[in-house]
């Protein structure tokens, strides 16, 4: 059995065999299917590989992807999506927890590094208020997931169009990014420092961040 990761590599390799016209047709189709976050990755990659193989074989007979799969690739993709099994809950839970841990790890490491650098120039307050930090972490996580979802939407909307409106999409993506930054920045600024607290030095932050990051890598490849 080939794993999804191997299928993706094979897909990348074989996609170079497509004519420019077929490449355009297929790549929109590919992105559209891969954006379906809740579908089984394995099954999605298998069907994507089959379609790619079919187009390559058709090419050899002088047929274009448009002739083979019709002029409504989105409708065809939707038909497939309706039949692709959902990703199983355990894989999904593992993916999301690995992503959250990964982010937590980076946040802690970045905090450590910043405090270390700033401490050369001035005294840094290293007090941590767990209640605020936990709340802030979930706000950052929520905002990140929402931004990812919004960006996916923008990409999804840009597919299968004759003329791509990339300027408008760039503006939309920038608005998403700035909103996300605004929410995170103002939460960290305005949330009160209440409850129990302790000192959390830069090297502890760095070491624990590294461990958490390692755990997220482990969870991802497990």
């Amino acid at each position: 059995m080939m794993e999804a990761k191997q299928l993706i590599e094979m897909n990348n390799r074989r996609r170079t065999e497509l004519t420019p016209e077929n490449e355009k047709y297929y790549s929109d189709f590919l992105i559209y299917i891969r954006l379906q976050f809740f579908l089984s990755e394995q099954q999605s990659e298998e069907i994507l590989m089959e379609i790619l193989d079919h187009i390559i074989e058709g090419q050899k007979e002088g047929k274009t992807a448009l002739e083979i799969f019709g002029n409504d690739p989105k409708a065809f993709a939707d038909e497939l999506i309706a039949q692709i099994p959902k990703e199983n809950k355990r894989n999904l839970a593992r993916f999301i927890s690995s992503l959250s841990l990964n982010m937590l790890g980076y946040l802690l490491m970045i905090r450590g590094a910043i405090i270390y650098i700033i401490s050369f120039f001035k005294d840094v307050d290293i007090t941590v208020y767990p209640a605020k930090s936990v709340l802030l972490f979930f706000i950052i996580l929520g905002v990140s997931l929402f931004s990812a979802w919004a960006i996916f939407k923008i990409i999804g909307g840009s597919l299968f169009l004759e003329k791509k409106n990339s300027a408008a999409d760039t503006v939309k993506a920038a608005v998403v990014g700035m909103t996300a930054f605004g929410v995170i920045f103002s939460s960290s600024h305005f949330l009160p420092n209440v409850g129990p607290n302790f000192d959390f030095s830069w090297y502890f932050s760095l070491v624990i961040g590294f461990l958490v990051w390692g755990a997220s890598r482990f969870l991802k490849n497990w």
Partner: protein, 110 residues
């Protein structure tokens, strides 16, 4: 939808299972075999949603294997459940086709 394509839609599952019963095939090969058998209206894309559905019902299973002409391909095999389903479809088909043939031919000879 034309009568022809409606009929075809109803029986396409059976035709695909029948092709796979003879020997394991991959997607492109399957579409060629259906067309060579005379089912010219089966547009090549239509087989893929059907293949996914048949897999979900465990009538067929796919396996990635090296093919004669190069790359690894997903070959479809009939399962025992699929064999059962194929027999049932074939039986029901006969129950319709034989009387329908009879009636239509009678109309012809008048």
């Amino acid at each position: 939808m034309s009568l022809r394509s409606q009929l075809l839609k109803g029986i396409l599952d059976g035709c695909i299972l029948a092709v796979i019963e003879k020997e394991p095939v991959y997607g492109y090969e399957l579409s060629k075999k259906l067309q060579n058998a005379g089912l010219k209206d089966v547009s090549e894309g239509t087989i893929y949603p059907v293949l996914l559905r048949l897999q979900k019902n465990s009538y067929i299973r796919g396996e990635m294997q090296p093919s004669e002409s190069g790359p690894n391909r997903k070959y479809y095999y009939l399962t025992d459940t699929g064999r059962e389903a194929l027999r049932e479809i074939a039986m029901e088909w006969e129950e319709i086709v034989i009387p329908a043939n009879f009636l239509l031919k009678m109309g012809d000879s008048k």
